[in-house]
């Protein structure tokens, strides 16, 4: 990512360079936002709703969101389901293995803040933002597919606004 990040800095020194960077930025962010491939990461009941969203009735594919079974090929983790303390190192590992730019959606009460396991649980991590940075929170137990779609559209909006320089 280093070269692309520096590209605007060099280009802008030439006459008309600004136009090139803006157009490049537009192309990059549009294509990124319309192909957010997500990692298959369903750990509990929310994953059922994620599957329903991926199936034909709600049809995730029309947003360009296709599931990938490998973190190396995905841009997004939809953390669908309870993350236990035992699971946290694995989640962090998967996140670290993804190529930048990468995004995280916390789906469901469990990943937002512990959800139904907030009290009386020794095993559940209360919010995945303790482990990975989260871009969009979707509350609900489980969130309906409509909420998930809304969350993904919100993420797309965020991705479209990003500049090449602040990719991370």
């Amino acid at each position: 990512m280093g070269l692309i990040k520096k590209l605007p800095v060099y280009l802008e020194k030439f006459p008309g360079g600004g136009l090139v960077t803006t157009s490049l930025n537009y192309v990059f962010s549009q294509s990124q936002a319309s192909s957010l491939w997500y990692l298959l990461f369903g750990t509990a009941c929310c994953a059922i709703e994620l599957m329903a969203t991926g199936a034909s009735r709600y049809d995730f594919d029309r947003l360009g969101m296709i599931f990938r079974a490998s973190p190396r090929q995905s841009d997004l983790i939809i953390a669908a389901g309870t993350i236990t303390k035992k699971m946290t190192p694995r989640l962090r590992l998967l996140y670290d293995q993804m190529a930048e730019p990468r995004y995280v959606i916390a789906m469901g009460g469990c990943t937002v803040g512990g959800g139904p396991f907030y009290y009386d649980s020794y095993a559940v991590e209360k919010g995945i933002d303790h482990i990975v940075p989260v871009d969009v929170y979707i509350p609900g137990c489980p969130p309906r597919p409509e909420s998930l779609l809304e969350g993904c559209l919100t993420l797309q909006k965020k991705v479209k606004k990003l500049k090449m320089e602040d990719w991370s």
Binding site: T84, K86, T88, Y118, Y119, D120, S121, Y122, A123, K126
Partner: protein
């Protein structure tokens, strides 16, 4: 063999080493002595009429004053089911392993060792099982367990 016949058979066989508990459930529930555990298990497995060949589960209960360890056993061949339990002191609880009788007991015993801190004698593989690998906060299923980020459900009035 139906429920009553099973109760009668077990009571005749084990006499006063066995005490029937009144639980109102379909399966008979017996109370035994912890010292008698291994011998009892071996006898019900080797008995041809009972042929208890399957240990469904071992569970532990912390009542706050004592531990109860509950065994659910069944015979697939004879289509029988019953449960038995025994009572342990709160201080330094120890039980004998039954894994030489039913090898499946291994994981159940490991689980209650880890979650309740009940020691298992003659167990060949007592190590970290379900809890996170770097767990250092004790036995979380005990009633008096606590941890810095553990929140109890507030009383609802």
């Amino acid at each position: 063999m139906n429920r009553d016949e099973l109760i009668k058979y077990l009571q005749d066989k084990f006499q006063d080493k066995l005490q029937l508990l009144d639980t109102g459930r379909a399966e008979p529930f017996f109370l035994i002595k912890p010292e008698f555990l291994v011998e009892f298990c071996r006898q019900i497995r080797d008995d041809v009429t009972l042929a208890i060949d399957y240990l469904c589960n071992i569970g532990a209960v912390d009542t706050g004053e004592r531990f109860e360890v509950v065994y659910n056993v069944a015979s697939v061949a004879k289509r029988l089911r019953f449960d038995f339990k025994f009572i342990l002191d709160y201080e330094n609880p120890k039980i004998d392993s039954v894994q030489e009788i039913w090898p499946g007991a291994n994981w159940h015993e490991r689980e209650i060792w880890e979650l309740f801190g009940i020691n298992i004698r003659n167990h060949n593989n007592l190590k970290r099982f379900l809890l996170p690998d770097d767990w250092d906060q004790g036995n979380p299923m005990r009633k008096n367990w606590d941890a810095p980020d553990f929140k109890r459900m507030p009383e609802v009035k």
